[in-house]
């Protein structure tokens, strides 16, 4: 997955530092830059749009173990 690979790597590199100071909040990352930490996902995304426009950037909840989303529907075509 090429898009957001760099941002994901940046998150992993700073994960412990982010966890220690902002667990449960949302981080906005563009490339190698940690742009900011926000209380809500929507705030982070809106600031990302204002700052960067319509480009890929990463907004991620800062947590020790990432939570998966769960679906019971057989409509979803994966695997």
């Amino acid at each position: 997955m090429a898009v957001l690979d760099e941002e994901t790597k940046t998150y992993q590199e700073h994960k412990q530092e982010l966890l220690s100071k902002a667990k449960g909040k949302y981080v906005l990352i563009k490339g190698k830059e940690i742009v900011g930490i926000y209380e809500s996902e929507k705030d982070a995304i809106k600031i990302g749009i204002d700052k960067f426009g319509n480009v890929a950037f990463l907004v991620k909840r800062i947590e020790e173990i990432d939570q998966n989303q769960n679906y019971t529907s057989f409509l979803i075509k994966v695997g």
Binding site: M1, I45, K46, I49, F57, L58, Q69, S73, I76, G79
Partner: protein, 144 residues
């Protein structure tokens, strides 16, 4: 609280569905207007209200038709797979039946069904009330 009751003979076979429109987010539309860029036309789809979905789903390809870029990734679990990596898109969904707009994250993935192009999951349902009256082929969905 906007509330609407739908009577549909295919309720058992199809499930509770709504016609919705997907658009780019408000913040992006404002940027486009300032830059005199054309606003992408809303995409009309049929969405299934799915209490078995933890989050809202959009069929892969629809965010791309609106020219949107992803704002995150997420792993999903389904009956047939675990830890499937998907992109997330911040999108605006308009529900014409209610005159209500919802802005939030949609997880993009392929969907088997040709007519259902979105799942309305519990992240949106937490703001509403769903009453399924199977013996009358009707459901009522209210948004808080």
């Amino acid at each position: 609280m906007p509330s609407k009751t739908f009577i549909t003979p295919s309720l058992q076979a199809e499930g509770p569905t709504l016609e919705v429109q997907f658009m780019i987010p408000v913040a992006l539309e404002e940027q486009y207007r300032k830059a005199s860029k054309p606003i992408p036309t809303p995409i009309v789809v049929k969405a299934l209200i799915d209490t078995g979905a933890s989050n809202c789903i959009i069929k892969d390809g629809i965010p791309q038709k609106l020219g949107l870029q992803p704002n995150g990734t997420i792993k999903i679990n389904t009956p047939s797979s675990k830890n499937h990596l998907c992109y997330k898109y911040f999108m605006r969904m308009f529900l014409p039946s209610y005159g209500v707009t919802y802005e939030g994250e949609f997880t993009a993935t392929a969907l088997e069904e040709q007519t259902i192009e979105s799942l309305i999951g519990r992240d949106l349902l937490q703001h509403g009330i769903l009453i399924y009256t199977g013996n009358a082929n009707q459901f009522t969905f209210s948004l808080l």
